[in-house]
């Protein structure tokens, strides 16, 4: 079972490496959106510092929406998804593999890029640290919740917009706790509660979303 998980992750990573443009689009979009804010709002440091976590998180949320449409659609169109459903192992495991690969390709680069972008907003080191930890816990949740939406809108015309409308409201808790942790840090409060809640959401998503996504895929394939 673990072999299969690794096989799917490896396959998706190889595919991502051969289609580098897709990976870079997400990252460049993230960098662009975040960089536009200082230009638009003006170079007042105290204001930038205050809005930094919110801007970074919202940009990460939007960037993760960009690549969700491709999560299952390529496999659906060339028939690989059919074969995955006929695999003699649980479909949830395959889905978990796809989610993991998706996060490594579209979530992890955002997390790694965030500290550099945070410096643009003059964020202090400790807050940057909390931001990264928050993003590390939060971006996998975005990939996993997004996968449910991607599975439900599979094969629909104009599915991309529908997907965002479906998934973005579900991501609000992640946004609140993620930005809340950084704000708590800057006002000298404990960040543990916010990060613990993010961790709890991650565990919850890890347990339930692969199964829900697998069911949604079965419905979409009928």
């Amino acid at each position: 079972m673990l072999d299969l998980l690794l096989l799917v992750i490896q396959r998706d990573l190889v595919l991502a490496m051969r289609r580098r443009a897709d990976v870079l689009t997400t990252l460049v979009f993230f960098v662009m959106v975040v960089s536009l804010f200082p230009l638009g709002v003006g170079p007042e440091l105290s204001m930038l510092r205050k809005m930094a976590p919110g801007v970074l998180w919202v940009a990460a949320l939007l960037a993760s929406m960009l690549s969700l449409g491709r999560l299952f659609s390529a496999d659906y169109l060339d028939g690989t998804l059919e074969q995955m459903m006929l695999a003699p192992q649980s479909l949830s495991m395959l889905v978990l593999g796809k989610m993991t690969a998706h996060w490594m390709v579209s979530g992890l680069p955002l997390v790694l890029m965030a500290p550099i972008l945070g410096l643009q907003f003059d964020m202090p080191g400790q807050e940057l640290g909390i931001l990264i930890i928050g993003l590390l816990l939060g971006t996998p949740i975005l990939s996993m919740i997004g996968a449910i939406g991607a599975a439900l809108t599979l094969g629909l015309r104009g599915g991309g917009v529908l997907l965002s409308l479906l998934v973005l409201p579900l991501c609000i808790p992640v946004l609140i706790f993620g930005t809340g942790a950084v704000e708590a840090m800057s006002s000298g409060l404990s960040v543990v509660s916010h990060l613990s809640l993010l961790g709890a959401l991650l565990v919850l998503a890890l347990v339930f979303t692969p199964w829900v996504t697998a069911q949604a895929l079965r419905i979409s394939m009928e």
Partner: protein, 276 residues
């Protein structure tokens, strides 16, 4: 003077040895007791499990007539299927046993692909049952999928990957761990010598179909469900597929397929099912 185990008259080394021996006996005793207790517990649990599940198993097997399941591996009874509001077929009955081949015939839109997809479990039938070795495929799920291979209209190959990578990954998905040598041998038999490492996007339509069909060579599935396997293939490849199907049937395999091209398999009677 004798006070329990410790005798001060004894040599210091002796007493240590004595104690050591005692502790070894105690440890052995402890392990034995634990072992026996655990074995008893496991046996009791097994007994109760059997006692509780046996009647259920008997009832289950009687219901599904397991004995008939040996004769007919795949049994379809009273199957009805529709697409939207349009009823494709209803009251469909057939069974297939080891070493048999069946062609599904019918005009375009008569529901051949829908029937095959229903047999794969992609679509829920409106009515009826599909039974594999005595169990409904809905309940068997992964056990059924381990024994069947489906090849649809779509090739399920990735343009960015080479023929070799494609074959190894699709074999891996169906639970077969394929090493490079076997995969290369399969591709060569499919007439793709020298093209194993090319990305499949540079291959022709027929060659891509051959990559997809190479799965037949490396799979150990008993039931093959092939939807138009001969599309885009040249004469040589069609002959090869006929040969492969013949070999599969000789090994007590089963094949259900659709095609609009003539396909002859030597040495077996071709059954046919016509949808109208």
């Amino acid at each position: 003077m004798n006070c329990g185990y410790y005798n001060p008259c004894m040599h210091a080394g002796d007493s240590l040895k004595h104690l050591h021996q005692l502790s070894r006996i105690a440890a052995l005793n402890f392990v034995l007791v634990r072992y026996v207790t655990y074995t008893c517990m496991v046996m009791m649990a097994g007994f109760w499990y059997l006692a509780l599940s046996l009647p259920e198993a008997i009832v289950y097997n009687l219901q599904n007539v397991k004995i008939l399941g040996f004769l007919f591996m795949l049994e379809v009874s009273n199957l009805a299927c529709s697409r939207g509001d349009h009823r494709l077929f209803c009251g469909l009955n057939f069974s297939l046993s080891s070493g048999q081949i069946m062609q599904v015939q019918g005009a375009n839109g008569s529901g051949k692909t829908s029937l095959l997809r229903t047999l794969c479990g992609f679509m829920m039938p409106d009515e009826g049952d599909i039974v594999w070795r005595g169990g409904s495929i809905r309940e068997l799920d992964e056990d059924y999928y381990a024994e069947m291979l489906y090849l649809g209209h779509l090739n399920a190959i990735k343009d960015e990957l080479s023929a070799l990578e494609n074959l190894r990954i699709s074999a891996g998905l169906s639970g077969v761990d394929l090493d490079e040598k076997e995969a290369v041998a399969a591709l060569r038999r499919m007439g793709l010598r020298g093209r194993e490492l090319l990305p499949t996007k540079v291959l022709s339509q027929g060659q891509r179909r051959r990559v997809a069909l190479a799965r037949l060579l490396v799979s150990d599935a008993k039931l093959w469900i092939l939807d138009e396997p001969l599309t885009a293939l040249d004469v040589g490849a069609v002959a090869l597929i006929q040969e492969l199907i013949g070999e599969h049937l000789a090994q007590q395999g089963m094949v259900i397929f659709t095609t609009h091209q003539p396909l002859q398999v030597a040495g077996t009677e071709m059954r046919s099912l016509t949808l109208s």
